[in-house]
Symmetry: C2
């Protein structure tokens, strides 16, 4: 394994570990438990799980993998706050999307070479990327790992209040 391959491997290991922790936590919640709030009046667990799912789904276009698998999740879990959309997915439905999206992302991730990980993401222009070469796929991966970890930390806290 070359050094650059090892760096990619480490990123993917940590991505996978974070995703697995989210999976383990949320999949163990009943539909009723998923209605619990992070704090009084704040987002419910179902919203957090849907949010993490929708954010991962948005990686398809952002990383140049093609169209999103579940663009309908945006209105429910990203662009609108919790409880403002009449009907959102159930826990079982979010779980199905979560698994589908992450399995597909994982395949895409594993197919990228180190050099491809360092190519620009799709929200930065070629001109800007020439000046700021850190705005690449691997940077997005690391950034999203942090985003997922922040929300998982909040969700775990709800469980600790039981």
């Amino acid at each position: 394994m070359t050094n650059e391959t090892m760096f990619v491997d480490l990123g993917l290991r940590n991505w996978k570990a974070g995703t697995d922790r989210v999976d383990k936590f949320f999949a163990a919640q009943s539909e009723g438990e998923l209605q619990r709030e992070l704090a009084p009046g704040k987002n419910r667990l179902i919203y957090v799980w849907g949010h993490l799912t929708a954010v991962n789904d948005a990686l398809f276009p952002l990383l140049g993998f093609g169209p999103r698998l579940h663009p309908e999740m945006d209105a429910m879990f990203i662009t609108n706050p919790d409880r403002s959309v009449e009907t959102i997915l159930s826990g079982a439905e979010v779980k199905r999307c979560w698994t589908e999206i992450n399995e597909s992302l994982w395949e895409r991730f594993q197919a990228l070479t180190p050099a491809q990980w360092l190519e620009r993401h799709m929200s930065v222009s070629e001109a800007d990327f020439a000046r700021e070469p850190h705005r690449n796929r691997f940077n997005v991966l690391l950034n999203r790992m942090g985003h997922t970890a922040e929300h998982l930390g909040q969700a775990v806290l709800v469980e600790a209040r039981k």
Copy 2:
């Protein structure tokens, strides 16, 4: 910049961004606000900040940088739960340690070559490392970024309850 240098740079950028967010959040809290709990009966913000500081301090020996700067923080913020130690550091004291530790870590981080980032950390034996080469410094960096993000997510939630 070579590919392997870029991977290190991305790790460091994300480490720095996470550390800066912690800094910004906690430094803005008064001593009184740092007494707020993550949830009723749970850890106080001051404990979380001290915990993140002590965990970063533990990186010195773990990454082979030498002895810890503040080993006395362990008993206050890692090995014992919140409120079980009679006297802990004030917010001002934690802030001083946090800044000192992170500035020193940052210098060490920037001095490492990509190959050095892929060397074993000090909690794994040479024999185990030969079989599991991912147990290296960079893996520790990514892992701790997730740990910090989880706790920051929890802390931010306290602020949202104000």
